[in-house]
């Protein structure tokens, strides 16, 4: 066990992902601020959109990861699935927070208010609360195995619930701008904006993958440390 930790080969994957995401993030920041022109109607604040949209996708993708690893955990009961769920949850929470903040800042000049009870915004807020509940549940259960099981149950129920929450809120009230990227007749955006968005999207995904790998490794080390403590005390 001990040798596995000290002699682990220098991790090429992690370094490659880290360097690549650093380059891509730098590139997308440059593009967002220097390359892409300001939106004619919305002005400079529209540049937030290049961060907002990828963050939103990753916030929801994280929940999908939690869902899959929760099912796998309950079926197999291997700690690796719980580690994956834990890692995805933390990233998902961060990205959901980014979505809410950028959306709110954008909404101030455009909608004239920090917050509006629009369908997508409200769903994202509820998603944020579900993530919060997920962490609280874990924090209030002392036995890690039980915490993992409970969290997996919440992960499954929550993921299935999110589309229904969205649907119910949309029926309730909607004010959000209609989708402009994925449309049948093709995207309604100048090429430079589309290119910037594409680059940011890729940058975010690589960054996400890098963070996920690193986070997973930290979680595994924590588990191994607990294991070692146990062996030395027992």
């Amino acid at each position: 066990m001990a040798s596995r930790i000290t002699q682990r080969p220098r991790d090429l994957w992690g370094r490659a992902l880290g360097s690549l995401s650093a380059v891509l993030v730098a590139l997308s920041v440059t593009m967002i601020f220097l390359y892409v022109p300001s939106d004619q109607v919305q002005g400079a604040v529209q540049r937030l959109f290049y961060i907002h949209l990828p963050a939103a996708w990753l916030a929801y993708f994280s929940f999908f990861l939690i869902f899959v690893s929760s099912i796998a955990y309950l079926a197999r009961r291997h700690p690796r699935w719980d580690r994956l769920a834990r890692s995805a949850a933390e990233l998902g929470f961060v990205f959901t927070t980014i979505v809410l903040l950028t959306g709110s800042i954008w909404g101030r000049p455009i909608w004239g208010t920090w917050w509006t009870w629009d369908a997508r915004l409200t769903t994202t807020l509820i998603l944020w609360f579900i993530y919060l509940a997920y962490f609280m549940l874990r924090a209030y259960v002392s036995d890690p195995e039980r915490a993992a099981r409970y969290a997996a149950v919440l992960g499954i129920v929550g993921f299935v619930d999110v589309p229904i929450i969205h649907m119910s809120v949309r029926w309730w009230r909607t004010l959000h701008p209609q989708p402009i990227v994925v449309r049948a007749e093709g995207p309604a955006m100048p090429e430079s904006m589309l290119l910037t968005l594409a680059v940011t999207m890729v940058a975010f995904m690589v960054l996400y993958l890098f963070l996920l790998v690193e986070k997973y490794r930290v979680e595994r080390m924590k588990d191994e440390l607990a294991e070692l403590r146990l062996q030395h005390s027992g």
Partner: protein
């Protein structure tokens, strides 16, 4: 067949216990009524648009009382010590879930009957109608399903009184929205628009009954 008898045994036991100890329904009922009365002062529920805020008040009262009752039920099971006895029995975990859900629905149902009667009397809103009762029933099943699942989980944690609403309210949001909307539409004589909300409630109930039935075993292991 054996499952039906086991569910009956669980409900019978809970009912008998409630008749003896009276730890749930009375408290829930008083709580629901006080919520309604408090709402009357918080929002004016006597005005012309009282149908809209009234149905909101009704559902908040029902859900807060339900939350209280389900949390209490899980605590009683643990404190009386029979919970593990139930788990030792050859009843399927899914069957145990259905039994506990049936008890919760029974108790919440009694409280609802009381709240609806008082609601009619206090605010002169015609809630005792088949369609409204259908919405109340569907909403309660959805809320009770998630509540039963989460209350047994929350009961073994620290800070369980805090945790249950934190888990339940975000996930039960579709039930809250559709129940309130459907009730408002019915009370304002717009029956034609109520269809989608009832389908949403029905879909929610079926989906989460299925999921809770399947995952309940993982929630009750020690």
């Amino acid at each position: 067949m054996i499952a039906a008898r086991q569910i009956y045994a669980i409900v019978r036991k809970d009912l008998l216990l409630e008749l003896r100890a009276r730890e749930q329904v009375v408290g829930m009922g008083v709580f629901a009524l006080l919520t309604l009365v408090t709402f009357n002062f918080a929002f004016d529920l006597t005005g012309a648009d009282r149908a809209a805020s009234g149905s909101g008040a009704l559902w908040v009262a029902i859900m807060f009382a339900g939350l209280l009752g389900m949390g209490r039920a899980a605590a009683i099971e643990r404190q009386q010590g029979a919970w593990e006895g139930l788990l030792l029995s050859p009843a399927d975990r899914g069957t145990i879930f259905l039994g506990k859900l049936a008890s919760a629905l029974l108790f919440i149902g009694i409280v609802e009957a009381l709240a609806l009667a008082l609601f009619t009397a206090l605010f002169a809103l015609p809630v005792l109608r088949p369609m409204v009762l259908l919405v109340v029933g569907l909403g309660t099943v959805g809320f009770g399903t998630l509540g039963t699942l989460f209350s047994v989980m929350a009961a073994t944690t620290r800070a369980r009184e805090v945790l249950l609403p934190v888990l339940l309210f975000p996930l039960a949001l579709p039930v809250v929205i559709s129940s309130v909307r459907a009730t408002t539409l019915l009370l304002t004589e717009r029956q034609a628009e109520v269809g989608p909300w009832i389908s949403l409630l029905l879909g929610f109930d079926v989906l989460f009954l299925g999921i809770a039935y399947l995952v309940f075993g993982h929630a009750v292991e020690e």
